[in-house]
Amino acid sequence: MTDETGDGRPRLRVVTGGRADAGAAAARDEAALLGAWLVGDDEAFGELVARHEPLVLALVRRYARSPDDARDLAQRTFLKAFESARRALVHRGAAGVPAASGLGAVPFRRWLVRVAVNLGKNFRRDETRWTRSSQALPTLPAGRPDASQRLEDEEASVRLRRAALRLPRRQREVLTLRIDADLPFAEIAAALGCTENAAKVSFHLAVKRLRAELGKEDA
């Protein structure tokens, strides 16, 4: 690892090996964390889960009936992704590729996204906590404080969330990856195995359908 010194010359910095402390573990990159996890580093495992927990929760909670349901889905997502990572790393280890070499690093985050999307596909339910009117409303544009408007928005929200679950699969996946997990279109495309432009077209079509649903209500 090299740093630039004040006079522009590179300076070699030696990073000692062994078990790093919590602060240093946060700085380790994903490949190193996965390599450490594979050999039983419990701290690396905890770091991997903590790092991706918000993403996984954001992806699965739309399909969950309850917070416990969301936890169950999140756990299953992690288990499947860790299992895939273990298989890939063991296979590469058998092939002589060091786990933390960065050579063809395991795309753990992308696998988490794919697994969560697939679980969502299998768990798609019309009745979730978000399609019941008693749930809290999302943050709406300012300037609509009156009670009747709030009730109207709540009903529209329930309808649109139901409509989102009934979207064609690819449109639903792109929509939820974008608005639930805030993934950039480039990452969505990589996770779903399509081009960025195709992902944007799917998003456009999804929004068009939802607007049509909203138009029905307004009409």
Binding site: D42, F45, G46, V49, A50, E53, L57, R61, R62, P67, D68, A70, R71, A74, Q75, F78, L79, F82, E83, W130, Q135, A136, L137, P138, T139, L140, P141, D153, A156, S157, L160, R161, A163, A164, L175, R178, I179, D180, D182, P184, F185, K200, F203, H204, V207, L210, R211, L214
Partner: protein
Amino acid sequence: MTACHDVAPLLLDRSAGDLAVADAARLDEHLAGCAACRAEAAALDRTLSLVRLPPPDAAERAALAGLADSIRLAQQARAQRRAWPARFAAVLAVAAAAAFLVAPAFTRRAPTLTPEEVALARAAAAPASRWTVPDPDELWDTAGALLSDQAASTASSTAAPAASTDVAATSGSATPLGRDRTVAIAAADAWFDTDTTAR
């Protein structure tokens, strides 16, 4: 000013929160002067805000507490389940090896024979049991071959000289290695051959 159809894709990017910084200024300039596009942008904002989920509440965050621990436990349980077939195979292999070693003790039982079979077996074995290793000297003595040459000088045996004299008298052979002697040599060879194969 930029045309409406040029900024239409940017309106969706903006509502999706994915508008490139380079396009933001161009879109803002257009929106400032175009009421129709402002209405379109507001409609898109409303649609996407209605379909979004609210951020996780306290109950949701509490339900996720200790997720790493439960994943770890589930992994351990899975690893144990995966280990069962291997353990079963190991136990099976040990049991098979033990059976291989112990089985002969049970399978090699004494034959149960009827008295008739025993009698037949004894009769068949009788000549072998009576057979003894012949003494070469006695063999020669019985054949009377060598002794015929020494009949006069040897008086150790009483039957043999008589036999040899008889043989010599009946055969009328003057040669010391007569037919009987050849038979005796063949018998000795046969004995050695038998002894060799027995060994």
